[in-house]
């Protein structure tokens, strides 16, 4: 616990709030992995953790170390940039892989190779409204 007591109260409260917010958002996102029904719904869940979940924890870390070392510590931005660039790429690839596998198996709930008219909405793939 080096130097934690040196922080002013407002900074401590801000860091505490941001860290808790980030942890709660990440937890909700992972909870979505557990509760949503199909794979395509579950793809949405982790982005909660990787957008504002990671963002607020990294912001908390930036504020904390900037206050602690009394200079601007910004290298957490790098992680944030990495995450914002890489997560969409991985999720997109995963969704495409899942679609490819479902099509190869002839699953009914995924749209076929762009057979629908452009602009029309596909229906509920879980089979019930």
């Amino acid at each position: 616990m080096t130097g934690m007591a040196d922080l002013p109260i407002w900074a401590a409260l801000l860091v505490a709030f941001l860290v808790l917010l980030g942890a709660v958002l990440t937890l909700i996102g992972v909870l979505g992995l557990l509760r949503l029904r199909s794979f395509y719904e579950r793809v949405h869940a982790p982005t909660l953790g990787t957008t504002f979940g990671a963002g607020s924890i990294l912001a908390a870390s930036m504020i904390f170390f900037s206050m602690l070392e009394t200079r601007l510590v910004l290298h957490e931005i790098l992680i944030a940039v990495f995450i914002t660039i890489t997560t969409p790429v991985t999720l997109m690839l995963l969704a495409r892989a899942a679609l490819y596998r479902d099509r190869a198996e002839g699953a009914e709930f995924v749209p076929l190779h762009q057979e629908a008219d452009p602009g029309s909405a596909g229906g509920d793939h879980s089979g019930r409204k």
Binding site: I28, S38, T51, L78, I85, P111, P118, D124
Partner: protein
């Protein structure tokens, strides 16, 4: 002369910024970062990837302001939906959107925006028919085709043309 040393000024600048962020500010690191930036730009020039042209800085700023707000709103909506359990079930499904945007960089950025937003996920892009297959978590709350086209595609089209 400027062209041959720094073919990609924005790339070199961001590489230098990354180097400084990782290693701290000092004269030596600044020099080393410049060397890395110039070397990486030279490699990039060898690859001869088409250079994206930025046409409208105003649209970039507008997009940079709109996207975080949308991601935040979507975060709230998706958290509520996850926590609501079986009572708050929404209908999810696939949406096909015809896109007018052809530029590859613009499409890549559109893909990043759409996938980072928790409620929507980019599934497939058909380059022949230039249609995009999306999966959205809450199909009925909004007109997704119109939303994607006006909020994201139109400014991206302004930027990359």
């Amino acid at each position: 002369m400027m062209r041959s040393v720094l073919p990609y000024p924005l790339l070199a600048l961001s590489l230098l910024a990354m180097w400084i962020l990782l290693n701290g500010v000092s004269a030596g690191q600044l020099l080393l970062g410049c060397v890395v930036a110039v070397a990486a730009s030279a490699v990039m020039a060898q690859l001869q990837s088409p250079k994206p042209r930025l046409r409208s800085w105003r649209a970039i700023v507008r997009l940079a302001l709109v996207v975080p707000v949308d991601i935040f709103r979507s975060n709230v909506a998706v958290s509520r939906q996850i926590l609501a359990g079986t009572g708050g079930r929404k209908v999810s499904g696939f949406v096909t959107i015809p896109l007018a945007l052809r530029d590859r960089t613009g499409l890549a950025i559109l893909a990043c925006i759409i996938t980072s937003t928790p409620g929507t996920a980019w599934v497939e892009y058909d380059s022949k028919r230039s249609t995009l297959l999306l999966h959205v978590l809450d199909l009925e709350s909004e007109d997704w085709v119109k939303l994607i086209k006006t909020r994201y595609e139109q400014p991206l089209g302004e930027i990359f043309g």
